[in-house]
Symmetry: C3
Subunit: 276 residues, 3 copies
């Protein structure tokens, strides 16, 4: 049975809000992602700031419009700063997004993931393996870039819904399956391109884009779905000219920059259904 | 009243000196800028080296021809290494450049900026907000990429001249206004392109270029103005083919590499006036 | 006297094995190289993972198929994690590659190089200055990107053979001279392009490629030579369209991605001779 459509989301309206606001996004992210993430945010129209010292992380989080925390290249001082920044964001009412990179791979990551969840992220964005690991806190995925092919779409969807209900966060699963849920509603997001997983940290950079879309909205579920739709459309456009991952990365930044209302308007509106 | 012209600067002669020398530039810079900074220096004809451990920072600074220090992503061990490297550069007579990224944003940055100034940088390069914050040690700019639009050109110029006089450093303000002063002389530098602020850390990378131009010259004021002029001309050229920030970044490195005497000769010579 | 040919190596067969396996490569590398190294590995068909905390470095090394350790931007916690990861790789029979960046430049690097050698790398890859410094543990090279022009090809070759015999590692020297030896056999590898040294950390990224070729083979000497041959061929192809280091870096990733059996088949087979 096909679930009934409960509404639609207009990505173009969300992008217009982002560009009008040009929000400052504070990112405590991994060392591989820092540069691409900053470039993606600048290309789209947001302003990135990276700062990870405990001496200023909380102060920085309160200056910014939103925060992202990514556990890709952890170390103890960074984890402490992540926790303090996340708590500062929570206490001052700013949205923050958790990116649980390879959370199932080591004991250290599972522990970091568990502690960060206690600071109540607004959104959790990961691939299917990561969302499964975070939900199960059991055995995790292998590697950091690929989703386990044995994770069926259905399993990932169930884990995302369950995690969203348990944490009261919006959960976004990206990769072979792209979906967003707040535990009650569900949206599948089209777009993207086969070369995207061949460019490092495009997923991490998307976490920053989600944060930028969360600023000045009361509906993080819709904003997250809109962010994924814009990102996917830019990827689709970049893929039309790229001849490999090098040229794809360049074309993708140009496509994010060029993304406009007319390009997004031709997308089928994102349909929202009830979460099963 | 238009100030009288006191002389001119020939960027091409400075670039020729840099390429003849291929100086080794030691950079303790932020985690976002490391890669683009190294690529910018290599494209132009200098040799970059990054090393930040206290165990070797001073030794490295004394091996290199010049040093840069950038406070974009601080932490305590890095600040200590910055101070030791800056002191080593000062004691061995090597030029060093301070890049006070977002120095006004947090207490930690203000303190780091204050301490680094005590080691007497040869040049300070920042955007208008950062130069204002460093001079005022008062309320700083918001964000790290954009200059406060309320900072008029005149205010930034006055702050730069005042900071130069107080610290005996050459001060370069880049962004909407591009000027260089040693407190006595002033040069405005044309060039650049609207896409430059859409590519992350091009300002940070410029700090490395300034350091490379400082090697083997007795006039850091002229060398800094020449560095900005070459950078701006490469930006202008890159802008003629770019279709967004992705292709701009690629074209910019190619333009730095291709920059030659004939291209620079067609520039109007940089005019130097008395600082008001 | 021309040494007698002892056999040949087929790079295409090694590349086919890599793509079939898509190995997970754990890299503790420098902060400049992280992003390009990840992109190079993804473009070629391997899966990169970066993790440097002592809390998980050994656990991560045992999850991955191979490890690389690069001392470009050292600090004490990183060195400790490098040692633990290298020991974990050795104990679990996984190949690991040492990249001794600027090992001769400071006392701290010489010490780190000496300690890492004790964990018995499978392969050591460096430029001529670095291999000389590691062998001599004497005066090192200046800078990190250029090989000392006074290091003749013959001197580098002798140092590589001597280092290979002393450490039982395969030694690869890249730069003006490209050769691989296990102390008994020697292969010279053609290819590459004059723009490669103008793009930062392409040498560091090659270290990851070597590690990826080492997975599932009993002949690390042949696998290393094959890795260098594939890298050189991609560089040669990228050079046919690039107009500077920016466009070269983009074309190089596309070329690694497109590299296939037919392209490699036209290469002269790599000839192996006895080491003198």
């Amino acid at each position: 049975m096909t679930p009934a459509i409960r509404g639609t989301i207009d990505p173009a309206a969300h992008l217009a809000r982002l560009r009008e606001r040009a929000p400052l996004i504070h990112n405590i992210t991994n060392l591989v992602a820092m540069n691409p993430m900053a470039n993606v945010l600048l290309a789209l129209g947001a302003s990135p700031a990276m700062a990870h010292a405990r001496e200023e992380a909380a102060e920085f989080a309160a200056l910014a419009d939103a925060l992202t925390v990514n556990i890709g290249t952890l170390s103890p001082h960074w984890v402490a700063a992540m926790e303090e920044a996340a708590e500062a964001a929570r206490l001052t009412g700013r949205p923050w997004v958790l990116d649980p990179v390879a959370v199932g791979a080591t004991r250290y990551r599972r522990e970091a993931g568990r502690r960060l969840l206690e600071h109540r992220p607004t959104v959790i964005r990961g691939n299917a393996s990561e969302i499964l690991a975070l939900e199960q806190q059991g055995s995790g995925g292998r590697g950091v870039d690929s989703s386990d092919s044995s994770d069926s779409t259905e399993t990932a969807e169930q884990a995302a819904i369950s995690l969203a209900r348990r944490t009261a966060a919006v959960v976004a699963v990206t990769g072979e399956v792209d979906l967003v849920t707040d535990g009650r509603r569900l949206a599948r997001v089209p777009g993207g391109h086969a070369l995207m997983p061949r460019v490092t940290t495009l997923g991490c950079a998307l976490t920053g884009v989600v944060a930028a879309f969360l600023v000045d909205t009361d509906d993080p579920f819709a904003a997250t779905a809109a962010a994924l739709a814009c990102y996917g459309e830019a990827g689709r456009r970049a893929g039309t000219t790229a001849t490999g991952p090098g040229s794809f990365a360049v074309a993708f930044l140009d496509a994010l920059y060029a993304l406009d209302h007319d390009q997004l308007a031709i997308l089928t509106a994102l349909e929202v259904t009830d979460a099963p």
